[in-house]
C-alpha cells in the first residue's frame, strides 16, 4: 500500500468517522423492542380500572395509593439493600476468581464450580440453600438472601470477566512483572484497567439479576422482610392492581433520570476521547 494511502487513512482516523452506519438499525430496533412493553406498563399505571391488563380509562388514583403503601416501600428498600450488597460481593469475588482461573490455575472443574449457579436451575440453588441454612441454623432473613444472591451473582461476574480476560494475551502483565512490579500491583494497575468494561458489565448484571430475582429470594428469606419481587408476587392471588405499574413507572423515571444525570456529569469531567 502506498505511503500516501496510509497517510490519508491516518488523517481520517478521528473516531467520529467510524460511525455506526447500519448498526443504528438494530440498536434503535432493540430499544424499541425493550421499551414498548415498558410503555404499556406506564400507560396502564394510569388505569381507572383495577386491572393491570385491561385499560378502562384514565386516572391518577394509583399513585397516591402507591405512596401510602408502606409494605411496598419496605420491600423496595430491602431489595435495594440486598441488590447493592450482592453486587459488591459478587463483583469483587467474581473478578478475583476470574483472574485466578485464567491466569493462575486453569481447570475445567474449577471453572464449572465457579460458574455453577449460572448453569443450574435457580430452584435447585434455592432449595439447596434453604436446606443448608436450615441445617446450619442460620436465621433466614435479608442476610441469607444477600449471601444467596452474592453466590448467584458471582457466577455471572466470573463468566463475563473471564470471557474478556481470555482475549488478553498477558504480555502487558508479563512486562509489568518483568519490570519489577509485584503481582498485586500488576493486577491493580495493568489487568484491572484492561478488563474494566467487563467488570462494570458484570456488576451491572449482578445488580440487575438480584433486583428482580424471586425464586432464590423466596426460599432463603425469612418471614419478616420481603423483597420487592416477593411482595409483588404474593399479590397475584387477588389480582395485581395498577399500583404495581405505578411503582414500576416511578422506578423507571428515577433510574433514567439518575443515569442521564450521571452521564451529563461525566461529560464535564471526561478528558479522554476515543
Amino acid at each position: 500500500m502506498s505511503a500516501a494511502k496510509t497517510a490519508s487513512r491516518a488523517a481520517r482516523r478521528p473516531a467520529k468517522r467510524q460511525g455506526l452506519g447500519l448498526l443504528w438499525i438494530p440498536l434503535i430496533g432493540c430499544l424499541l423492542f425493550l421499551y414498548i412493553p415498558i410503555a404499556t406498563v406506564v400507560v396502564l399505571s394510569f388505569n381507572s380500572g383495577r386491572s393491570a391488563l385491561n385499560l378502562k380509562g384514565f386516572s391518577l388514583r394509583w399513585y397516591p395509593e402507591l405512596f401510602s403503601d408502606a409494605d411496598l416501600g419496605h420491600a423496595l428498600v430491602n431489595t435495594l439493600l440486598v441488590a447493592t450488597g450482592a453486587m459488591v460481593f459478587s463483583t469483587v469475588l467474581g473478578t478475583m476468581l476470574a483472574v485466578g482461573l485464567v491466569r493462575y490455575r486453569r481447570s475445567t472443574a474449577l471453572d464449572t464450580m465457579a460458574m455453577a449457579p449460572a448453569i443450574l436451575p435457580d430452584l435447585v440453588l434455592a432449595i439447596g440453600l434453604l436446606s443448608f441454612f436450615t441445617w446450619v441454623g442460620f436465621t433466614l432473613g435479608l442476610t441469607t438472601v444477600m449471601i444467596a444472591h452474592a453466590a448467584f451473582g458471582t457466577a455471572f461476574v466470573v463468566a463475563v470477566v473471564r470471557a474478556r480476560l481470555v482475549q488478553l494475551d498477558g504480555s502487558l502483565e508479563e512486562a509489568s512483572q518483568d519490570l519489577g512490579a509485584g503481582w498485586f500491583t500488576t493486577f491493580w494497575r495493568v489487568t484491572l484497567p484492561s478488563i474494566a468494561p467487563a467488570v462494570l458489565a458484570g456488576a451491572l448484571l449482578s445488580f440487575t439479576l438480584s433486583l428482580d430475582e424471586f425464586v432464590i429470594a423466596f426460599f432463603t428469606n425469612g418471614p419478616n422482610s420481603p423483597t420487592l419481587p416477593i411482595e409483588i408476587y404474593s399479590r397475584v392471588r387477588f389480582g395485581i392492581t395498577p399500583e404495581i405499574n405505578a411503582l414500576a413507572t416511578i422506578l423507571l423515571l428515577v433510574s433514567i433520570i439518575a443515569v442521564v444525570a450521571g452521564a451529563l456529569a461525566l461529560r464535564r469531567t471526561d478528558k479522554t476521547d476515543d
Partner: protein, 371 residues
C-alpha cells in the same frame, strides 16, 4: 506437581462434601408426630407476645396488626405467600420457619397435621368458634376442627360472559366439549386438583379419587378438552373474560366476583353435576413460641366485625353466621355467590389431602398440559 495437587484438592472436596451430605441426611427428616398439645395459659400476658402470620396478600384488613394490638395487646407481623405450595415448602423444610399462624387451604392443613407440624386447637382460647356454621365444623379434611379453623369457603364453577354465551352453561361438558363457536375461548384452572375437577364431576367420580382407571379416563377427557382451550389460568382468567378473549372459564366463586365488579355481564354458575367445597383455613404451628397470642389472633379473626370484612372486600363466603348477617344486602344482590347458604355449599364435595397419592394428580396435570 500441579497435577497431583489438583487431584488431591478434588479428592478432598469430594470426600468433604460426601461427609457433609451424609451427616445432613442422617440428621434431617425427623417426622415426629407429637400429639401432646402444650399446656397453655388462658390468662397469659399477651402484650409480651408477638406472632408472625403468613397469609395471601390482601386476604386480611390492612390494619389488622393495629386491630390485634388493640384487642389483645399482642403484636403481630405479617408475611405473604402467593400459593399454598410455597408456604408448605417453607413450613416443611425443617427448622423454624418463624411462622406462628398460617393460612392454608384445607387439604394442606391436613397434610401439615399428618406431618406433625400443627398445634391442636385449644378451644378454650377460641370462644368465637361458636360462630361457625355447623357444616363448617364437619369438613372432611378436619372433622371437628381439631387443628384448623375455616376462614373462608366456597366452591368452583363456571364464570362466564352472559352476553356472549347463550344459552348459559349448565354442565361441565359445556367447557370440556364446547359448542364450536366457543372453541378457543375457554380457560380452565391450572392447579392440579381443580384442573381435574370438571372431568371428575362430568364422569361422576369423586374429587378425591385415586383410582388409576378413573384417573386414566379423566386424563383422556382432559386431553381432548385441551384442544378447545385458550389456556390454563389461575390468576388472570377474569381479565380474559373482561377483555372478551374468553367467554367461559372454570373459576372459584369468589374470583368470579372480580370480573362481575368490572363487567356486570359476568356471572357465575355451579354446573348440575356438582362441584367441590374448598376452604382456606387458619392453623397454628407447633413450633410457635407464642401460642396463646396465636389462638387469640384466630379468635379475633372469627369476630363477626372482622370476619365480615373478608366478604365485603374480598367477595368470598365466610363460614361465620353472625359475620354473614353483617354483610349488606346489596352486596349479596350484586354477587349472588355471596347469597349462597351453607346447606348449598355443603352439597359440594370437600377436598381432602391424598397423601402419597397426591403425586398422581401432579402426573395427571403434567400429562395433560404437556400433551
Amino acid at each position: 506437581m500441579a497435577r497431583t495437587r489438583k487431584f488431591s484438592t478434588r479428592a478432598l472436596l469430594g470426600a468433604g462434601s460426601l461427609v457433609l451430605v451424609s451427616a445432613l441426611a442422617a440428621c434431617g427428616g425427623d417426622d415426629s408426630g407429637g400429639a401432646e398439645p402444650d399446656k397453655l395459659d388462658a390468662d397469659a400476658d399477651l402484650s409480651k407476645q408477638s406472632i408472625t402470620v403468613s397469609n395471601w396478600s390482601g386476604y386480611m384488613p390492612d390494619d389488622i396488626a393495629d386491630q390485634f394490638k388493640k384487642a389483645t395487646g399482642a403484636s403481630m407481623k405479617s408475611t405473604e405467600h402467593a400459593t399454598n405450595e410455597e408456604v408448605m415448602a417453607k413450613l416443611t423444610a425443617g427448622g423454624d420457619s418463624g411462622i406462628d399462624v398460617a393460612f392454608v387451604s384445607g387439604q394442606y392443613a391436613q397434610a401439615l397435621n399428618d406431618a406433625g407440624l400443627l398445634e391442636p386447637l385449644h378451644d378454650d382460647l377460641i370462644p368465637n368458634l361458636k360462630n361457625l356454621y355447623p357444616e363448617a365444623t364437619e369438613l372432611a379434611f378436619d372433622e371437628g376442627n381439631k387443628y384448623s379453623v375455616p376462614y373462608t369457603w366456597g366452591t368452583t364453577g363456571i364464570c362466564y360472559r352472559s352476553d356472549l354465551v347463550d344459552p348459559a352453561p349448565t354442565s361441565w361438558n359445556d367447557i370440556l366439549d364446547p359448542d364450536p363457536k366457543y372453541s378457543g375461548k375457554i380457560t380452565m384452572l391450572s392447579t392440579e386438583r381443580w384442573l381435574a375437577l370438571p372431568a371428575q364431576k362430568a364422569l361422576g367420580y369423586s374429587v378425591n379419587t385415586t383410582d388409576d382407571d378413573e384417573l386414566a379416563e379423566m386424563q383422556d377427557v382432559l386431553v381432548e378438552a385441551k384442544k378447545h382451550l385458550l389456556g390454563y389460568d389461575d390468576t388472570t382468567f377474569y381479565e380474559k373474560l373482561i377483555s372478551g378473549e374468553a367467554v367461559m372459564t372454570e373459576a372459584w366463586d369468589g374470583w368470579c366476583g372480580y370480573g362481575t365488579l368490572e363487567n356486570p355481564d359476568i356471572k357465575f354458575t355451579v354446573p348440575e353435576e356438582g362441584s367441590d367445597l374448598w376452604s382456606d383455613t387458619m392453623v397454628v404451628l407447633k413450633s410457635s413460641e407464642n401460642k396463646e397470642a396465636a389462638f387469640a389472633f384466630i379468635n379475633m379473626m372469627l369476630d363477626p366485625k372482622v370476619h365480615s370484612w373478608v366478604t365485603e372486600n374480598v367477595y368470598y363466603n365466610v363460614p361465620n353466621a353472625p359475620a354473614e348477617d353483617l354483610v349488606p344486602a346489596e352486596l349479596k344482590e350484586q354477587f349472588p355467590q355471596l347469597a349462597v347458604t351453607p346447606e348449598q355449599l355443603g352439597e359440594g364435595e370437600v377436598l381432602v389431602d391424598l397423601g402419597e397419592d397426591s403425586t398422581k394428580y401432579t402426573d395427571l396435570t403434567t400429562d395433560v398440559t404437556a400433551s
